[in-house]
Structure formats: structure tokens, C-alpha cells
Symmetry: D2
Amino acid sequence: MPVDSIDIPIRVRYAEVDAMGFLHHARYFVFYEMGRTELLRANGLCYADMEPQGLFYVVTRLDARYRAPARYDDELTLTTRTTKLSYVRVDHAYELKRDGALLAEASSTLALIDRTGRPTRLPDDLYDQLTGASAASVSQS
Amino acid sequence: MPVDSIDIPIRVRYAEVDAMGFLHHARYFVFYEMGRTELLRANGLCYADMEPQGLFYVVTRLDARYRAPARYDDELTLTTRTTKLSYVRVDHAYELKRDGALLAEASSTLALIDRTGRPTRLPDDLYDQLTGASAASVSQS
Amino acid sequence: MPVDSIDIPIRVRYAEVDAMGFLHHARYFVFYEMGRTELLRANGLCYADMEPQGLFYVVTRLDARYRAPARYDDELTLTTRTTKLSYVRVDHAYELKRDGALLAEASSTLALIDRTGRPTRLPDDLYDQLTGASAASVSQS
Amino acid sequence: MPVDSIDIPIRVRYAEVDAMGFLHHARYFVFYEMGRTELLRANGLCYADMEPQGLFYVVTRLDARYRAPARYDDELTLTTRTTKLSYVRVDHAYELKRDGALLAEASSTLALIDRTGRPTRLPDDLYDQLTGASAASVSQS
């Protein structure tokens, strides 16, 4: 069975906070993107290898809620979870915490496009690897 | 009557696009923030003067939809509109277009906090200036 | 004769300042890059059209001095000047000012590479256009 | 004796590369800043605690050379070294490598200022801790 959730540690960089001393709201999405990269890697896939194959995931939807600020040098934990996966899109949910306290949560939808910008489908082997449709493919990682 | 919508031109910078050549999805929020700054200015207010007075607007909600990519050097038009304003929060809606074609839209909620991070209220004069409650205050700009 | 220096106005964005309230030192280079884009444009060239032709300018050297901080919402003037131009590289000098006061200065070297990352040469028509070697080519802009 | 050099691993984020697929030249400085943070930490100091005490390190000089590009998802090693330290300023040197190959190197000067922006001096205990002038102070970490 594939990995559908992953926790990664992230330390807030000085360049990421704003004049209030808070992690700037736009930079959470950079963290969420890191979460997706690591979730793919935990399933034996490398997004850096997908683009050269003409497979591009583009964000089509983002919904974010901010509960409490993060600050410079904070050590955060980001949980990234796949909530829905099809051949043509994928949904994720995110929770960003500090010492167990929820700071922010978000969800996103990504669509798969090809080099020309047109919608495309995940090849069967990648789909199987991500969904665990085939036990064999998962063990390729 | 105060200004409740403003259009600003934005040219996409090289550093803002990603490996696909598209404006990175996190950077749209930097544009939306610029729209809010200019909408305040059009109402005779300067956000740069609010923080020293202990008035900080923090983002609590962002919902974004991406329709089509923007690219390096594109000349875009961002429309920022106040959709709801109270003493303690403000909602905005955004539309980002290129040559009249909608590329992205979003909405946000900001809450007003003080220097200690606690919710606070807009002073009456600023509230009046932003809502047009008092004709006199608006002409102060 | 081609344009070898250009002034552009830049307003500091909220997302560009740090916890001190100062424009973060790394973001000056994004401004300098904008200056190069506009200097090319003033010479009738568009960098956005060069990359699809396989002409990529990469930074090989940056030297920067910071004299005084810039802050959120400051209106700055950036002067970008070509100090040396050959078929394979170009040097620039930058001055960033607020109300005539020098805040920062820098210089850079860019090398021209092709799609494979190998050094390449400017085509004659572009070189002529940038150096004014041929009056005819300059008027193409 | 204090720690005067530190290696940290950095993985290049998707949002950090440009349309060429290369780590954008401005973002190297964000990495160098991370190196400085970790070098302080290795000496028992936390920069996040210095600013609330009114001690702000501001960059006054940056000199950077770029040898070869870094790409999305690359695992890099950054070496940050203190090359000169006084009560009022500090110089660092940086080397960024991938699998032992040098991609970029740089050096910087930072000056210490107070809350009002005026030059200030490191308190003796911090200076001793960073220079190893006093064995006792170093063991405070």
C-alpha cells in the first residue's frame, strides 16, 4: 500500500518572515509544495523526473486557513496528505504545526498537463505506483 | 464615497516564474497584497503608516482559483475589490487578467490585530474613511 | 546610438521586507534583473523572446554594496547601465536611490549560454542592435 | 574554541528555480543567510534571540561568483565560514557544492546596528562566546 501521508520538518528562514516577524502568508504554499515533493518521493517517485517526461502538475485551486503565526527560526512540522487521486488530478490536504499546535491548514487541487499545456493522464505505471493498484509497482521505489 | 475597487498593472518578473515558465502559484498572493496596498492608498490611507500605529492586518483565509498561466514579462491587470468591511476584519476579491482574459481569481479575509497579536478594532476615523460613513473624513486624503 | 542606461521606478512590496522592516538584501538582485530587462527593451529587444531562441543570459558574478536600508512602500529609482558588452558576456552597474540618496550599488557579469548550457555568441543582428554598430539595426526597435 | 565553519545540507525547492530550471541567482543569498544562522547556533547563539535584544546584523557587502547551476531537487552542501570577527562587524565566506563539485562561492560583510539603525557593538559575553576569548563563555551553549 502506498504512502498517503507524510510529515516533514521545516525551519522558518529569516528571508521568509515579514515586517511583523511572521512567516509571510504566501510562503506557506512553498512549504506545501515541498510536502508534495516528499510525498511523491516516499512513494518512489521524483517530481524532478516527471517534468522531463512531459508530466507537469499545475495548481488549479488553493484554500488556506491561518490560525496562528509562525516566526523566524521556528521548527515546524508539515503533514501532507493525498485526499483524492485520479489519472488527471490530485487533491492534497496540509496541516502545519509547531509543538503540536495547529498554525495553518490548507487544501489544493493539481491538474496534470503536458508540455503544450493541455490536460494529460498519468501513465498507468505511475498511477499504479501512487494508488497501490499493483503491489509490484510499489516495490519499485 | 470611498473607492472600493482598483485596477493596477503588474508586469511578471523573471524571478517570479518557475521551471515551467509560469508565474509560480505562491506569487499571486504577493500581487494580491499589492492590490490591497493600492486600494488603501486610493482611499487616502497608507498601510505603511498603520503598522507604526499598532494596526496590523493579518491574512486568516485565502481561496484561490487558477484558470490559465501567466508568463515572464506578461503585462497583467489586477482588480482588487473590497467585498466586506467591518471594524475588525475585511474581505477582498481579486481578478487577474491579461488582455481581458481571466487568469486567476481569489478571495481573502484579513483580521486586524495589535502589536501583541490580539484582535483590535479600526479607529473610527479610519473606519469612516474606508466606508465613507463621513464625507468629511474621506476628503482628508 | 543604443540606450546604455535606464532609470526605472520600483515600489517596495510588503512581501519584500524582512523582520527589521528593511528590503531584504537578496531582493535587490530581483530589482537589478528588472533593470536589465527594461534596458534590453529600451534597445528594442525582449529577453522573453531570447530564451525561446536558445539564448540564455546567466549571472556569473555579482558584487553588491549596501549603504542605507529601503523600507516597505518606498518609491525607489533604479539606474541600470551597461558597462561592457561583447558577443559572449555583458557587464552592468546598478544604483538604487530614494529621493536622490544612494541606498545601494552593485555590478554584475552575465554570460550567454545555449540550451545545453554551453557558452554561445550573440547573433550579429542582436549584437549590432545592442552596440549600435549598425544604425539600420537600431531603428528596428 | 568556537566553531568557525559549518556544513549544512540544502535541498533546492521547486519555487527556487527559474525558467531555465536553475536555482535563481538571488536565492543563493537566502542559503548563505541560513548558513550564518546555523553557524551562530553551533556556537550556542540564536539570532532569533539577538534582534529582541536590539542587535541586528545587516549586510553591507556581498561578492558572489557562480560556477555551475544548481537545479530543482538537488541536494547541496553549503559551507559557511567566519573569516573575520570584530565587535562591530563580521565577514563570512561561503562555498556551495553538489557531490563535492563547487557550484558557487561568495563572501559577505555584516555590520551590527541597534534598533535605531545606528552602529553598535557586540556585548562582551557574545563576543567572547563567538571568539572563544573565554572558555567559560563558550560552554554556556
